[in-house]
């Protein structure tokens, strides 16, 4: 390429207390290219894109952009109770005197949407829109500023396969019109399919730069982890017996309502729920965990069956962030005999449990008394999973157990789930990562709009068919 870069990063460095997030990075983005930035969690991708966007100041180095830079956040920064046009034009409202010129505002939003081939109703309330459409709003907001550089942070995390294709069609149109696009992602298939170049980050530096035409998913993955991928514990033969039975389950409301769901999870098997986020998975998990009321039947084979839960949001739902590891290990078990002695908590018992989890899960921490918020995401998740499994529960409910953690920690968590299955636990695995489900599950159920729309045994899995079912295409 001979064109001048639209964005030039030189010698970027950024450190936070105790960690160097980005270390001496150079990067050029050219008009018309789709550049993928990949790396493990904590490799520095998000920090680098925040610096490129101008949200974070680098400690050293220079950022030069030929025009404006737009950033689409992974967690949309939208205002749910405002309308689409209000979100898109927030901060740049067309005025007529003191007031907002609403006619002009509508026209402007329609024009941007049309130019980019994005269908949208400017008057819709954002909170009522499906995730995929909300992302369109977020994208429109950036496009209205006509950026010469567009940064996309994990843009497809919450999209169905069909939506992903449509999304990249839009992105490719943008690139053709001369926008420089950078996608921060960990979905390597998408990198190969849609990006032109890829930069791999590890420990704050760029360790590999490749043309996607001449590389492979495997090569990128090895560059990401700096070697071979860690293995997962072997699947042993088990004799599955009935354990958890869900019949005619109806629960929840709105988009995520479940209607007449049937599912059986047997002891000694992992049942994976495949599906795009927002199709009722959280309702199913909440019902099984007893967090919400429901109609229908959720029955365990024996009445004293125990349940270990790995919630989806570890920081909000599973941990008390300012507390120590020891105190967190008690959470949810505070009334169990052994932990509870009369009216007090047996601290020696809690300490022993924490010690056991630290050893079995290789929790990297200077001490068991440090607040869990000081741990990395991977180590936090190890505490959560360790706590869920420590009492050898009969049923394990795992919701995105490896989301946002590094490959090593993910392999360890997956191994422990496999071992729980091997010893005879019934594992219900809900994950938005199809690869994770394909790797772990004995049976796969596909969830779409609150119902199970397909069922596969491990022996006859058809990845393409699952993808179609996830998108709601029934002719699988």
């Amino acid at each position: 390429m001979i064109a001048r870069p639209a964005l030039t990063l030189r010698g970027i460095r950024k450190s936070y207390p105790g960690v160097v997030a980005v270390d001496d990075v150079d990067l050029d983005l050219y008009p018309g290219e789709i550049h993928a930035l990949v790396g493990e969690n904590g490799a520095g991708k998000s920090t680098l894109s925040a610096i490129a966007f101008g949200e974070t100041r680098a400690d050293a180095g220079s950022v030069e952009a030929s025009g404006t830079v737009g950033l689409v956040h992974q967690h949309f920064e939208l205002v749910g109770r405002l309308r689409v046009w209000e979100n898109v034009l927030l901060g740049r409202e067309p005025r007529r005197g003191w007031r907002i010129d609403e006619t002009a505002a509508h026209e402007r939003v329609r024009a941007v949407a049309e130019r980019n081939g994005l269908a949208i109703d400017p008057d819709a309330l954002v909170e009522g829109l499906p995730i995929g459409v909300q992302q369109r709003v977020e994208l429109l907001r950036e496009l209205d500023r006509e950026p010469s550089v567009l940064l996309l942070d994990e843009p497809t995390a919450a999209l169905a396969p069909a939506e992903i294709a449509a999304f990249f069609a839009t992105v490719q149109r943008l690139a053709q019109r001369g926008t420089a696009v950078m996608i921060v992602t960990h979905k390597l298939q998408e990198v190969i399919a849609y990006a032109t170049r890829v930069s791999v980050m590890r420990h704050g530096t760029i360790v590999a730069r490749m043309e996607t035409a001449t590389t492979s998913v495997d090569a990128i993955a090895r560059a990401m982890v700096g070697g071979d991928l860690p293995g997962v514990a072997a699947r042993e033969a088990t004799q599955p017996t009935p354990c958890l039975t869900i019949e005619a389950l109806c629960a929840g409301a709105g988009e995520t309502r479940i209607e007449g769901l049937h599912l059986e999870v047997r002891a000694g098997e992992i049942v994976g729920i495949a599906g795009v986020e927002g199709n009722g998975q959280s309702t199913l998990a909440d019902a099984v965990a007893g967090m919400i009321g429901y109609d229908g039947r959720i029955a365990f084979a024996h009445p004293r069956a125990t349940l270990g839960v790995i919630p989806q949001d570890r920081q909000r739902e599973a941990l008390v962030m300012p507390w120590s590891i020891v105190e967190n290990v008690v959470l949810g078990r505070q009334d169990r005999p052994g932990i509870r002695r009369g009216v007090v908590i047996d601290r020696a018992h809690a300490l022993a449990d924490a010690q056991r989890i630290k050893e079995r899960f290789d929790v990297r921490t200077p001490s068991l008394d440090v607040p869990v918020r000081t741990l990395s995401g991977g180590n936090q998740q190890k505490v959560v999973v360790g706590r869920a499994l420590i009492d050898s529960p009969d049923v394990v409910l795992a919701y995105n157990p490896t989301r946002g953690i590094d490959v090593g920690a993910a392999a360890l968590v997956q191994s422990r789930l496999m071992e729980a299955r091997n010893r005879g636990a019934a594992v219900l695995l809900i994950s938005f990562e199809l690869d994770e489900i394909l790797a772990l599950a004995d049976r796969i159920a596909v969830m779409y709009r609150g119902a199970i729309v397909g069922d596969f045994e491990r022996s006859n899995v058809d990845r393409a068919a699952i993808g179609r079912l996830m998108a709601g295409l029934s002719n699988a």
């Binding site: 949200e55 950033l71 956040h73 920064e77 939208l78 205002v79 749910g80 109770r81 405002l82 209000e86 979100n87 927030l90 901060g91 740049r92 409202e93 005025r95 003191w98 007031r99 907002i100 907001r141």
Partner: protein
């Protein structure tokens, strides 16, 4: 009988007026994401300052403006604490209340050489009825500002998701600071109405929880200026009722009747919450 109803209606509107100003302040503040529990203190300092300035200049209008300014200053202090220093809003508001009430009491002793109450000062006289009408106009104006102007849109966005506002290039902290300052100015006006409008002096404890009742009105009115204003009228009615009923109902002592507006606020609070939704980031530091 008609005379009684008319005087009750007029008294209701008068009693509602300071509540409305404070509640409108509460609406602005909470829509921007700051719970202003300091309204009570801001009313007190507004009432006190108005009296002091009227006493010094013999100009009640100047007093009124000074009351507004004092409220705004107290609002600014709360705003700085809640934004730049990320102090918990409830705690900071409690601090503001102590400072304002204590400061006014301290000032009374220093200036008038007597604890408890100030001397009588030049008051607004019948002009204060203009402020009654103005309260309702202010409610309509605020409604329009929030719904139709860029500023209003940004305030609403700030209270729902300040990060969204930040990514649109607008500093949510500055937005909140402005909103809380205006909030304090309105509460100060409400306080000045009490001391220079209804009365002609300041006495310790004269705001009597009106700032807190105004907060209840904000919730009862679903964070909407017009709703909050109507709620204030309801609470004003209960306050007016005690004057009208005094001496007419023998079994209920006057002291107990004074508790009516607070009980009304409690009942309102229990009756409607659960069905209402506060701005998503109300009370959450950014």
């Amino acid at each position: 009988m008609i005379e009684l109803v008319l005087s009750l209606a007029l008294l209701t509107l008068i009693k509602a007026t300071p509540l409305i100003y404070a509640a409108l302040g509460g609406v602005i503040s909470e829509r921007s994401g700051v719970i202003n529990i300091g309204l009570e203190g801001m009313m007190a300092i507004g009432a006190f300052t108005a009296v002091i300035i009227s006493y010094a200049t013999r100009q009640p209008m100047l007093g009124l403006l000074a009351g507004v300014a004092a409220g705004a200053l107290a609002g600014y202090v709360l705003g700085v604490a809640a934004t730049r220093f990320k102090v918990d809003q409830i705690v900071a508001g409690t601090g503001i209340n102590l400072i304002c009430a204590g400061g006014a009491a301290y000032g009374l002793v220093l200036i008038f050489n007597q604890p408890g109450a100030s001397a009588q000062v030049p008051a607004l006289g019948h002009h204060y009825l203009v402020l009654v009408v103005l309260a309702f106009i202010a409610a309509l104006a605020l409604h329009w500002l929030l719904a139709r102007t860029p500023w209003g849109l940004r305030v609403r966005a700030c209270g729902e998701n300040p990060a969204a506002l930040a990514s649109a290039g607008i500093d949510p902290l500055a937005m909140r600071l402005t909103a809380v300052t205006i909030s304090g100015a309105l509460a100060g006006l409400g306080g000045a109405f009490l001391s220079l409008g209804e009365l002609n002096l300041y006495s310790d404890g004269m705001t009597a929880g009106r700032g807190f009742i105004a907060l209840a009105a904000v919730i009862f009115g679903r964070w909407n200026p017009i709703g909050a204003t109507l709620a204030c009228v309801v609470f004003g009615l209960f306050e007016a009722l005690q004057y009208v009923l005094q001496g007419r109902i023998s079994w209920l002592p006057a002291d107990a009747m004074q508790a009516l507006p607070y009980i009304a606020a409690l009942v309102a609070l229990a009756g409607i919450t659960g069905k209402v939704r506060a701005p998503a980031s109300d009370g959450v530091p950014y």
